[in-house]
Symmetry: C2
Subunit: 328 residues, 2 copies
Amino acid sequence: MTMEESTIKKRVVGVDISLDATSYAIADVRGNILAKDSFCTEDYPEIGAFISALCDGIIQLVETNGGFETIRSVGVSVPSANFKSGSIVNSPNFPWKGVVPLSALLRDRLGLAVAVANNSHVVALGEHAFGCAHGMREFIVITLGTGLGSCIFSDGGVKLGSDGYAGEIGHTCVEHDGRLCGCGNKGCLEAYTATKGIIRTAREVMAESGETTKMRRVPKLTPRVIAELCDEGDALAIETFRRTGEYLGLGLANYASVIDPEAIIFTGGISKAGKWLMEPTQKAFEEHVFHNIKGKVKFLASDLDEGDRNILGASVLAWEVEEYSLFK
Amino acid sequence: MTMEESTIKKRVVGVDISLDATSYAIADVRGNILAKDSFCTEDYPEIGAFISALCDGIIQLVETNGGFETIRSVGVSVPSANFKSGSIVNSPNFPWKGVVPLSALLRDRLGLAVAVANNSHVVALGEHAFGCAHGMREFIVITLGTGLGSCIFSDGGVKLGSDGYAGEIGHTCVEHDGRLCGCGNKGCLEAYTATKGIIRTAREVMAESGETTKMRRVPKLTPRVIAELCDEGDALAIETFRRTGEYLGLGLANYASVIDPEAIIFTGGISKAGKWLMEPTQKAFEEHVFHNIKGKVKFLASDLDEGDRNILGASVLAWEVEEYSLFK
């Protein structure tokens, strides 16, 4: 890029690929979103068709909003991504199996530099640039939803580890010989605290108790429904999140004891269960965490707008393609 | 320090304080130990007397080996140390309780800059400078003995965390509601894999089994004795280390899944149990670690001389007092 080009290209494209929706937007360096569009991810179970749909969408958005001469680069947020290889690797939830070289596929089609990172890493970049982690050098991000993702932001940057997989708290073991996890291991934190695990806990709670609960009559149990029943005072719904919080607090305590963060920042659908999940989580956390850091680690909820959080983070990632100063 | 002084002062003092012995040496920048002495730590249960003995020893060693004009600074390795505060904090094993401002006490008496760090952090510095981690940017050190210490060496430096406590794997939980640990928490890895925990496991194994074992007749069981009985084919001694390895492998897998290191380096007395501990540890590790890093993390034994390992690391620490480039 010549000096002239680099001074003109002051916008980036941020992309957020999640299981249900794929969103993409043009953003400036201050985190202002200038134009945005999205489509349904599930409509494209075949990766070639998905890449075409995404690139067609980006091209149309860019051409009707200033053109490619204004765009510096592209940042992409996607679960199971490996920043070092620019690929989606062995996703347990997307229909695209094995290794998907996402960064190369998009770069070839768009002719722009593309950086790809795990959604939790991207959220950490966004929270650090524009959200509740602004100015912090040591924190952890936890994304609670279909899966349990996380990111270690340490010494002022996203910690990658030797192969780019650092931060996999979802597959740390919290119950010796416990539940079989989708990853093939037993007793993983994700098997207790992501969507399927919470539903399973609700079923266990109902099977053990004779108490009446509206959970028995709900056609499709979800963490959101369980949280709503908690608000109504449903004892077994409350017990479901209490048990979930016990495991989450234990897993986070193990994590914090080795990382010593200033704060843990929660995002994702399940984190909206609020006090029903967070109070038992924090209780178990303080019970299990290393004594010298008890009472010191802040629990924070992301304060970025939910619809834009990952796109904003992806736009920060896009600004990183030239030097990666925020990756360690 | 003037330019002239800084070019003259090319030696440092490395100090290793462990539960049984306190050693101190003069070393050069290449890790050559030029003079060395030691005394019995347990002779000084009172901290003031201990500091006097250590300073008297260092002063005598330095004055008979080139004098203080050759010494740049002092580095100290000690369990339960916090590098950021230069103190020993809430040691579960030393007789000196609460916070001991070791760095300030030594600096006041010796008139030299003093850096103090946790023994596991110090071992990581030594292995990185002179041992099997030379050139590595991402590794973990595990010290197995009276306690279970560890250090995360990440992005080319010792990871401290927000308060200097990063790396406390010994107090991560590997058994829900498990054994009570000396730290007050339940189910800590240290309660299963450090000296007392291994002896307790041996007693449990003997209580459960009617098999004959020489372990029943040993006046004082130690991990070393159990390892020797393993070499003789004693089935219950072998079972003791198998169970220990199951917990150690699980704890290390949780650790590696969030850190993604290139290697784990083992030091400390218990690590000398060799294959009796390491084979079940590695088996459990591979069973539990996050699938994308299975088979990738190397298990290494420290290759530095045991008697000099911590002193060498402490000498690297001493060179760090001016800028701390190896701390993150």
